[in-house]
């Protein structure tokens, strides 16, 4: 050991510094997996009691669980992985969090400084690999920089438009010694996120809103991340305007409220999509007009409307759709100011225009675009399972989902009244998130009901986490909508590829009940519609048990409404349309 690595009075090791920093940041859980490059860190971790380490079975799950913990609580999620394969396994999780703007700090081990660039064992350029899918990343090269770098990492992750930050730490740095002091605050001349919106723009927005004849409020994940749900409810109630949420924004506005018109977008309701298309004033809050939400932007812009857009990230504004009144600021602060202005405003919304607008919306509602044929007594409809899940959990559960048809049904049929209850991968669309997401939620709120709605394709992408759930006694309820197909792939193949079901059938499925039981969990097969409600009640009555519910569902069920790729929002195919399959074929031609 060279001279520089001798511990002097007042000095602690890099690994211990990391522990102290995590303590300062009030971290309660670290999700991780040990390995060579992080052994010093794990040794320091062994000696501390400030936070609990959750040992996962695959690094991807560590990052997803940390991500969900953050989505459920609003705190910064923390994951710890080793170098090389540990780091690359974490990348899908990091990219998932990045696409949905989830604040997270991922600490990755790195080979010793002297070995960097030598193609050392378990070496990968983590800073290079993650650069396109992080908000920022750091490689620490001096033990004295650990504290300030972690402080910056937590600050960057949580402020402005949140996102994941990777901190890559070479092994030797964690063994060296330095004095420790944690900075109280951090200032970066190159990073100064805006909080308050421009007051002139906010005044202008309020005026436009009050002058609207056919107003619409469209809110997204940014509203949930910005904890501005109460402000939005206040605003919507004061104005009496219709509200739609995006997939990421579900729960931001209560789904059971009468002003709520349902989710919009590719699988949005008839009323939400038509109102979005037909409105004359649109207030977009923490949403980004993405391709799954507005469909074809040219079609969306073919009708004139005035768009007000509130977002903390200036680059989200006028990216896909040119807006008239951009307001860059924290959604909570901006909506709060709008509410204050409205309270002191004598002008009221145009009551007669609003009345006829609501009459039009109610007309669209009569289409009942989420209705489905539930008459069969032998085949379980997936939508029915979600409806019953909502009833049995009284709308209070954390619902995580994977990606595919089941995700859309969960989004459509579970009525979320609170934010941070619907946890899914909206941006990246990562299959396999459901179970680790449920782990993060259950740890965040141990007494809560947590349901993981999944498919037999997705669940197998992180099925190894059944073991983690056993170790930490997580009483999650897996709601597997098992249709023996990669359902969404099959649906597109049916519509757009003349029923050529290329590789979308799930053959050789395991016996999920036995699989769950082998981990000491409870397994259930549910094959009849009549058994759905009872089974759900039984499962949720087992408050301290992990229950794996395998629902054999209709193999041919499709998600409706559907806006085909490249089409306009008001060009939906409805489930009630007798020619829906032909309609779909014609569209893609």
């Amino acid at each position: 050991m060279d001279q520089s690595n001798q511990q002097k009075t007042g000095q602690i090791s890099g690994a211990e510094i990391i522990m102290r920093c995590l303590h300062e940041e009030k971290v309660k859980f670290v999700f991780g997996y040990p390995g060579g490059a992080v052994l010093h860190i794990y040794d320091a971790l062994f000696k501390q009691k400030d936070f609990k380490h959750i040992l996962v079975r695959h690094e991807q799950a560590a990052v997803h669980a940390a991500d969900a913990y953050s989505r459920a609580t609003g705190e910064v999620g923390v994951a710890l992985v080793t170098s090389g394969p540990g780091a690359t396994n974490a990348v899908t999780g990091i990219a998932t969090a990045y696409m949905d703007s989830v604040p997270m700090v991922v600490i990755s081990g790195q080979v010793p400084t002297a070995a960097i660039g030598m193609d050392a064992f378990q070496e990968v350029d983590m800073v290079g690999v993650t650069r396109p899918c992080v908000k920022h990343n750091f490689l620490i090269k001096d033990v004295r920089d650990i504290a300030i770098t972690l402080k910056k990492a937590f600050y960057i992750a949580a402020s402005g438009r949140p996102g994941p930050v990777v901190v890559d730490i070479p092994k030797d740095i964690t063994a060296e010694f330095a004095e420790y002091s944690y900075p109280k605050t951090v200032e970066m001349r190159s990073y100064t996120p805006v909080i308050k919106g421009h007051s002139g723009q906010i005044k202008k927005a309020v005026k436009i809103l009050l002058d609207a004849k056919r107003p619409m409020i469209y809110s997204g994940g940014g509203l949930v991340l910005g904890d501005a749900s109460n402000e939005l409810i206040k605003l919507a109630k004061a104005l009496g305007y219709p509200v739609t949420n995006t997939l990421m924004g579900l729960g931001g506005y209560p789904a059971t409220d009468k002003q709520y018109v349902g989710m919009l977008g590719m699988h949005g309701t008839f009323e939400a999509n038509n109102a979005m298309q037909d409105c004359d004033v649109l207030l977009a809050v923490g949403a980004r007009f993405d391709d799954r939400v507005i469909g074809n932007p040219d079609h969306f812009l073919s009708v004139p409307r005035t768009i007000i857009h509130i977002d903390v990230d200036p680059s989200s504004i006028s990216k896909r759709v040119k807006v008239d009144v951009p307001i860059v600021g924290h959604v909570q602060s901006v909506l709060g100011e709008m509410n204050d202005l409205l309270a002191s405003e004598t002008k009221k919304p145009d009551a007669s225009a609003l009345k006829s607008w609501w009459a039009k919306i109610d007309g669209w509602r009569t289409k009942k675009s989420l209705s489905y044929d539930g008459s069969s007594t032998s085949i379980i409809k997936p939508q029915y399972v979600i409806e019953k899940l909502w009833e049995v959990t009284k709308g209070n559960a954390y619902v995580t989902s994977d990606v595919g048809q089941h995700q859309m049904w969960a989004a459509q049929y579970y009525k979320f009244d609170k934010p941070r209850r619907w946890i899914n991968s909206g941006g990246l669309g990562t299959m396999g998130v459901g179970l680790p997401y449920a782990m993060g939620c259950q740890l965040a709120d141990p007494k809560a009901q947590v349901a993981c709605v999944t498919g037999e394709g997705s669940i197998q992408m992180n099925i190894q986490e059944l073991s983690t759930c056993k170790q930490f006694h997580l009483p999650i309820k897996v709601i597997l909508l098992n249709n023996r197909y990669l359902g969404m792939v099959r649906q597109w193949q049916e519509f757009f590829y003349e029923n050529r079901y290329s590789e979308s059938y799930m053959d050789s499925l395991p016996d999920f009940v036995k699989l769950a039981e082998s981990y000491g969990h409870v397994g259930m097969d549910i094959e009849k519609p009549g058994d759905v409600e009872g089974a759900l009640k039984d499962a949720f009555a087992m408050k301290d048990r992990f229950v794996f519910m395998n629902f054999l569902t209709d193999q041919k069920e499709n998600v409706f409404p559907m806006v085909p790729n490249g089409k306009g929002l008001s060009e939906m195919i409805l489930g009630s349309d007798p020619n829906k399959d032909d309609a779909a074929n014609e569209i893609e031609g």
Binding site: R189, S190, P314, S315, K319, K322
Partner: protein
């Protein structure tokens, strides 16, 4: 339309790759990119020549500002500015060509900075379009090698990009 974007960023390892990565990931054009430290050793100055519609340029500026290491961004085309680029061209210089190359170089206010039996190396400074014009004035077969620095730019008068 062509734009010259100037930016100041923290002089840290990997800063250049963040900018280069942003351009490739989002499919923006880079015509040229130059980077060097400034009088303040903690800052690098980068000049990027890019092209795109107004909407695309607006997005580029926003995305650059979003990079955590970027301190300031300026689109030089928003005001009056000066653009300069340095080019070194090695040309064939044998027989009658020796005089001709000298003459063309003089017309463009170039300087011959290296003389060999069969070639000259000409140094030329100016806007990108001047350098283009010089190359066009030469017969393709006489150009042995070309190296350009890419444009640097600075605002005219009081327009200053500084922290």
């Amino acid at each position: 339309m062509k734009h010259i974007i100037s930016l100041l960023m923290e002089n840290e390892a990997g800063a250049l790759s963040r900018v280069a990565g942003l351009f490739s990931a989002r499919g923006y054009n880079i015509e040229s990119l130059t980077v060097a430290p400034t009088e303040d050793a903690t800052l690098s100055r980068m000049t990027i020549v890019t092209s795109g519609s107004d909407d695309v340029i607006e997005q580029i500026i926003k995305q650059l500002n979003k990079l955590v290491d970027v301190v300031k961004v300026l689109d030089l085309n928003d005001g009056r500015h000066i653009e300069r680029e340095l080019m070194l061209v090695k040309v064939k210089a044998t027989g009658a060509l020796r005089d001709e190359m000298k003459r063309i170089s003089d017309i463009f206010r170039g300087r011959i900075i290296d003389v060999a039996d069969g070639s000259y190396t000409i140094e030329l400074t100016g806007s990108g379009s001047k350098l283009d014009a010089f190359l066009e004035a030469l017969d393709k077969t006489v150009i042995l090698e070309t190296v350009r620095t890419g444009a640097s730019g600075i605002g005219r008068g009081d327009r200053i990009l500084k922290v």
